[in-house]
Symmetry: C2
């Protein structure tokens, strides 16, 4: 006996999502059938709507339903700072902090020779163009602390510094509230390297 076609298709669709294997997809599909009809309709509509309405900002690469995005249009923000992130999600995290009021630029990934991702696969050329036609005086690189994130940060610094623009990197060290005992070696090393006078 096979699953009825409708559920087999739904399982297939769920399996296309990241981190969802055949068992999880089956569980989700059966759960969907037990959901009320309005909720399932809303789900289907939100999928189509998101795909239809959303695109990347032509200036910074952030996800948006307008172009330019809300942040790029906001002239009250500091136009002299650009903070470079890997993904649009990172912007959300930084905006929640409500302490940075400059502009952003989304790379949509990091340099990763293993995955065949070079500079031309990232949103880098538009960043350079942007810097040429603006009065930005500081680029803050906020790629993740992974080897690829570090390499990308270094690459960008070498590319941008010659233009006389200050390039900085977010500080790495111990998380607030974390125990030294449980910190990994890389984090501890960074914390020692980045120590500050009291």
């Amino acid at each position: 006996m096979q699953y009825p076609e409708a559920i087999a298709k739904l399982i297939d669709s769920y399996m296309k999502l990241p981190g969802i294997g055949s068992k999880s997809a089956t569980r989700l599909a059966f759960y969907t059938i037990d959901m009320d009809e309005t909720t399932v309709k809303e789900f289907a509509e939100s999928l189509l709507q998101a795909k239809k309405d959303l695109h990347y900002c032509s200036i910074c690469g952030n996800i948006t339903d307008t172009d330019p995005c809300e942040i790029c249009r906001d002239t009250s923000r500091n136009q002299q700072e650009i903070l470079v992130v890997e993904q649009p999600k990172d912007i959300m995290a930084l905006e929640k902090m409500d302490d940075y009021h400059g502009l952003y630029h989304v790379l949509h990934g990091v340099l990763s020779p293993m995955d065949g991702k070079g500079p031309e696969d990232l949103n880098i050329a538009p960043l350079i163009k942007r810097l040429q036609h603006s009065d930005v005086n500081e680029v803050i690189i906020a790629t993740n602390a992974s080897p690829e994130g570090e390499a990308t940060a270094m690459y960008l610094a070498r590319l941008i510094k010659p233009a006389g623009i200050k390039v900085t990197r977010l500080a790495h060290g111990l998380s607030v509230g974390s125990d030294i005992e449980y910190a990994d070696e890389m984090t501890l090393q960074r914390a020692v390297e980045g120590r500050q006078e009291m």
Copy 2:
């Protein structure tokens, strides 16, 4: 800054699925936006189609796009045995084994006083009716080996046995290929209790 409405709605939809919290939902939503349009359309359609086409078999409670379901319609199957499971998924697992050729009955849950689930909330009354109007001579109870599954099995046995129908329960013991060293106490206890002569 807030997420654009379209993505906020999609995140909300994903969060309605079991085991998906706000971080996973955000990850899935961003992934969806990067998926190609056809795939997203297929996903939306499969959701609506599954909700529209699928229902529970009026005889056994299995999930089906026909009524009665494929198994209930199959007269070549042994009409004298009914195997009782908790969920339609369990039928799939048993059918894969390709060793049981009788009928099924899906309870859609187990007795669980903690969750306020009594016999009237399960697909039990239709099972009893089914037994009265058939020549079934064995009911095999295949609820899970959880306390609720055991209680449900016991309840069903007490309900069905007086009608002179044989009630059996799937064997519990060590999994094939498992090490005694790593087996939990309950499983070991069951394995000892159910020991068989060689």
